[in-house]
Structures are given as structure tokens and as C-alpha cells.
């Protein structure tokens, strides 16, 4: 049976790992290569690197980070953040990334997703979707969500589920769904929208935003809860709260199928 994936995520700014609350208020959390290697040794199923620098020099630094990190790892590496053009994707894949996440650029220019998927294969293109829960309105039984872009600063009015379906139709191979409201809060994933999307699209969904405990990982992945195919988390792993192996043992104890933690990792072969 296919296992759910645990994906530690490193937010990268100017070549360093940082982590913020609500996409702002950043704290330094160390060297990306060191962090990525530690996760690899603990048995992370995949590593995610997100570029949260907005500047041109920052972009070049990020490509360099991707190159240095992926040169060390034998697990898939997903990268994203500020990817606008075909050229960006080519550079990142060339630097060793396995998958590139497209966010705002996909909203601005949906055919870009199709073109990229045709050129590099669907498996290399991840549709990143940042979502925000809209204020509750009287009479609504279910919460409403919209897609936001540019790091959560701009709303689009797009319905989340239909946009995710459209991304799948355009050829995206996975959806990386981040709740803006939860990001960095450690309150847990937004389970409602995660499950809605996971049930609506035929491609795997990675839950993101809000993990503060191992139970949150379980919630995001469990059938009837978040139903995501993979759980992405940043801060609980960064600051040494939990190791990947602890997370996996917890999930296995709670009947979530994950790849068992690696044995105290000997040197790779």
C-alpha cells in the first residue's frame, strides 16, 4: 500500500532557513544544507524548500541552495516560491530539484502550467495553492474559502476547489495546499478545506500550514479528517520539537500508513 508522506519544509531567505508566523515575523533556523541532511538521515520522505525572498539576488542564492541541498540527498526535493517563468523552472530542475511548485504565476497565467507540464512532465509540476477562509456569513452551513496569492497579500476571489480541479486538468501532478490562516500558528491544518480538495481532485494533495504537534499530522492524513496524501510541516521539525522518526512512530501507532522510520541510519550503503 502506498504510504502517506511526511515532508519537512525549509523556508529559505537569503540562503538561510527561516520560519515565520502568517508568512511574516521571521526567525533564523539555520543552514539549509545541514537541516536537509538531518531530515534525510531521519528518514524524511521528501524535502521541500520554499524561497521566500523576493529579490533577484535572493533568487540566485536560492538556486544555489537547491543545488547544494539536492547534491546531498537521495530523496525527492520539491522547491517553490516566486516561480514565474519557464526559465525559473528550468534553472531549478537543472539545479537538482525534482518538483517545482507554481503558485501566483499559475493564477495569473494558467496556460503556463499546461506548458510546463508538457515540457517537464506532470510529475515535476506542483500546483501550490494558498487559501484563506472567508468570514462566516449568516445562513452558510459550510465555510467558504478563496485562493490568495503573492504570499497571502492579494485575494483572487477564486474558489479553492474549482481552482485545484483546474490545476489538475492543466497537468499539475500534485497540489500543495497551504492555509494562510494557519501558517505558523501551530493550531493544526485547516482540515475542512484539505479534505474538500483531497476528495475533489484526482492528484495527490499535500497539506500544509499550521502543524504544531504530531496529532496535527495524524489529523491531516487520516481518512475522514484531512485525507491528505502527504503532510508538510516546518516548525515542529526545525526547532527540534520532534524528529521525523518520532512523527512516523506516532503515525504508525495511530494506524496511518507511513514508511517506517529508518534504522539509526548507517552511512548510505
Amino acid at each position: 500500500m502506498l504510504k502517506r508522506r511526511i515532508i519537512p519544509c525549509l523556508d529559505i531567505k537569503n540562503g538561510r532557513v527561516v520560519k515565520g508566523v502568517h508568512f511574516a515575523g521571521l526567525r533564523d533556523a539555520g543552514d539549509p544544507v545541514e537541516a536537509a541532511r538531518a531530515y534525510d538521515l531521519q528518514g524524511a520522505d521528501e524535502i521541500c524548500l520554499l524561497d521566500i525572498t523576493a529579490t533577484t539576488e535572493g533568487r540566485e542564492t536560492f538556486v544555489e541552495v537547491v543545488r547544494r541541498v539536492s547534491a546531498q540527498l537521495f530523496v525527492p526535493v520539491t522547491v517553490g516560491g516566486g516561480v514565474r517563468r519557464d526559465e525559473d523552472v528550468r534553472k531549478l530542475l537543472g539545479a537538482g530539484a525534482d518538483k517545482v511548485a507554481i503558485n501566483s504565476a499559475a493564477v495569473a497565467n494558467p496556460p503556463l502550467v499546461r506548458r510546463l507540464a508538457e515540457r517537464y512532465g506532470s510529475q515535476a509540476i506542483v500546483g501550490a495553492v494558498d487559501v484563506r477562509r472567508l468570514p462566516a456569513r449568516p445562513g452558510e452551513r459550510e465555510p467558504l474559502y478563496e485562493v490568495v496569492i503573492h504570499g497571502g497579500t492579494r485575494s483572487t476571489g477564486l474558489d479553492v476547489v474549482s481552482w485545484c480541479r483546474q490545476l489538475a486538468d492543466l497537468g499539475a501532478g500534485e497540489i500543495l495546499l497551504t492555509s494562510m490562516d494557519r501558517d505558523g500558528t501551530r493550531d493544526g491544518y485547516d482540515l475542512w478545506i484539505t479534505r474538500e480538495v483531497a476528495r475533489a481532485v484526482p492528484i495527490p494533495v499535500i497539506a500544509s500550514g499550521g502543524v504544531g504537534s504530531l496529532e496535527h499530522l495524524r489529523e491531516g492524513l487520516a481518512t475522514g479528517w484531512g485525507e491528505a496524501d502527504a503532510a508538510l510541516a516546518a516548525s515542529i521539525f526545525h526547532f527540534g520539537l520532534y524528529s521525523i522518526a518520532q512523527a512516523k512512530r506516532y503515525l504508525l501507532d495511530h494506524d496511518i500508513p507511513v514508511r517506517p522510520p529508518e534504522p539509526a541510519h548507517p552511512a548510505l550503503v
Binding site: L93, R165, R259
Partner: protein, 326 residues
């Protein structure tokens, strides 16, 4: 003593990680897309990502395909990864039936949507995993004809190349696509299962006064449209058992039988081999059991990505390098 491995650069995806992984396990690596270099390699790794399509057809029909067949035919160690493994088989059933190298009998199929994740493996004849088959290296008996086919392909002489290669593939069952022989409407170009049922064709249309077919003979069956909506789960009925439908592509870590080891997969198509004895390891997804790894004589193929499968993947590559299985 480093073993020299040639990674085939066929333009089917990123090779850097395959290269790094092989270096990690001690290989001396050469990357080449040159048919001459590939044909003379002593150990070949053929990686690929994606699906059958015009690009794979060009490889199969071209000089590179001939070079790959030559290496395999000569009995040198050969590893196909993901699409590189799928291409060892006859053809893809969909995508209008693009051909494979036709070295192993079998087809490539797309995972259907809407499969239940917890479904029991279906009733089709189970694939029997086997282990520890001694590599049976056949001498270079067909070397001359291989060389002929490569020479022909290099000269762009498609006909001669085709003739030479069909002679080589053990059972020359590559159906002549787009030939007038199968011009009846409804004839299946993919030719997947049994021969077309004659009675089904003949009964509705008594032939004698049949007018000539109005349009071009059916050579290519249009692939079924990819349906991107999966059946909704009944959320309104809380008593209904929770079920979860599988996603396509099959992305992530899955265990293989019989070793129980986990490897990283990413693919939308899987192989359905005709000979169970070619299957080395099996994986299941949504009730479909498919080969995670195949083996035939000097030939090894894996559906997963060993270069992305951490310790287990490196161990696999190492074993290939050292030629030890079982």
C-alpha cells in the same frame, strides 16, 4: 576497481540524480546519448520519466533504440528505470499505442481513477514474484544482425532497421500499424488481448456488399479522454463507511513484495507483463498488483526510482552494479 556504467541520455528527464546515486555506490559513470557509445557500453542504465509518446517512439525507431537492443541482446548488464523499464515492453496500451522496444512481452497501462485504496488485489492471475534467477548470458550470437540493424538505423533506413529488429525480437509480433490489413472499423490497433473476435465483427455486417470504408482505415484508436472528476464521497451520510480513492499518479513510498522494502515511485502507467516469470518484485496500488521490478536474463528493470529511494535505493543500485541478486 570502479565499474563503468553508461547512463543513456535519451532526453527523457533529469539524469543528474541517477548519476550521483551511481557514483555514490562506486560506479564510474559516463552519460551519453550517442548510439555508438551506448552500443559499446559494458553496463547500461536507461532512466526515463513521463509516459510513452512521440519522444519514446523516436527512440524506439531510431539508432538509440537499436543500440539499446544491441546491449541487451549481447547479454551485458542493463537496468531500465521507470519509463526506461516500461520501454522494455511491447507497447503502451494508450497514448495511441506507442511502441516499446519489445524485448519483454507485455503492455503498459494507465491507472484508472476511482479505485478504492483498500481494495483487495483483483482476481486477475496473480503475478508470482521470483527471486534469485541466475543470469543466463547468451553469447553474442545475434551480434551481427544487431550490428546490421544499428548500421541501418544510423543511415536512416527505417525499413532495413525494422526488418533487422523484428528478426531480433524473439517473437516478431509487432503488428504492422497503419497497414491496410486491419482496415475494418473497430479493429483494435493496440491489439492487446486475444485476436479480435471474428464473430463479433462478422455478425452485424454481412460482408459481401460492404461498400469500401469511407474514411482512412482505422489504424490508431483514440485514447480515451482522461477524466478528472472522481466520484464524490457521500459526505451527507455519516454512516457510510469511509473510503478513500487512489490518486493518479502513484506518487510516494510503497513497499514491494516479497522483500517488504520501501521505494519511491512516481508514475501514472504500470506494466502488465505477459510472463509472470519476468516479475521480480510486486507492488500494489488500489487493488492493482503490478511489477515493481522485472528481471530477465541480463536485464533488470525497476518501476521505482532507486536514485530517490534513499538507503534502499542505493542498495538496489549497488546490487545491480555488483551483479548480485537474491
Amino acid at each position: 576497481m570502479a565499474r563503468e556504467v553508461t547512463i543513456v541520455d535519451a532526453g527523457l528527464g533529469n539524469l543528474a540524480s541517477v548519476e550521483r546515486a551511481l557514483i555514490q555506490v562506486g560506479a564510474a559513470v559516463r552519460v551519453s546519448g550517442d548510439p555508438d557509445k551506448v552500443a559499446t557500453a559494458r553496463m547500461v542504465v536507461f532512466p526515463g520519466q513521463g509516459a510513452f509518446g512521440p519522444a519514446t517512439s523516436a527512440i524506439v525507431d531510431g539508432a538509440l533504440g537499436a543500440a539499446l537492443r544491441m546491449v541487451i541482446d549481447r547479454g551485458d548488464p542493463f537496468l531500465g528505470i521507470c519509463l526506461g523499464m516500461q520501454m522494455l515492453f511491447d507497447r503502451s496500451e494508450e497514448n495511441a499505442g506507442h511502441p516499446g522496444l519489445g524485448i519483454l512481452p507485455g503492455y503498459c497501462r494507465r491507472f484508472p481513477l476511482g479505485l478504492d485504496e483498500d481494495a483487495e488485489p483483483n482476481a486477475r492471475p496473480p503475478l508470482v514474484p521470483i527471486m534469485a534467477v541466475e543470469p543466463k548470458i547468451e553469447g553474442g550470437s545475434k551480434r551481427e544482425s544487431m550490428a546490421a540493424s544499428i548500421a541501418a538505423a544510423l543511415e536512416g533506413d527505417q525499413e532495413a532497421a525494422a526488418a533487422a529488429t523484428t528478426h531480433l525480437t524473439s517473437d516478431g509480433d509487432e503488428p504492422p500499424r497503419s497497414d491496410d490489413g486491419n482496415g475494418e472499423p473497430g479493429s483494435d490497433a493496440a491489439g492487446t488481448d486475444a485476436p479480435p473476435p471474428a464473430e463479433g465483427e462478422a455478425a452485424p455486417a454481412p460482408a459481401p456488399v460492404a461498400p469500401p470504408p469511407p474514411v482512412a482505415p482505422v489504424a490508431v484508436v483514440a485514447p480515451p479522454p482522461v477524466v478528472h472528476t472522481i466520484p464524490a464521497v457521500a459526505r451527507d451520510n455519516p454512516d457510510a463507511p469511509l473510503r478513500r480513492l487512489v490518486k493518479v499518479p502513484h506518487v510516494g513510498w510503497n513497499a514491494v513484495e516479497p522483500t517488504g522494502e520501501h521505494y519511491y515511485f512516481v508514475h501514472s502507467y504500470y506494466v502488465e507483463p505477459e510472463r509472470p516469470e519476468d516479475v521480480m518484485w510486486v507492488t500494489s496500488y488500489g487493488g492493482i498488483r503490478f511489477p515493481a521490478a522485472v528481471r530477465y536474463q541480463n536485464l533488470l528493470g525497476c518501476q521505482f526510482h532507486p536514485e530517490k529511494s534513499q538507503r534502499a535505493g542505493l542498495k538496489f543500485l549497488r546490487a545491480f552494479l555488483l551483479g548480485g541478486w537474491g
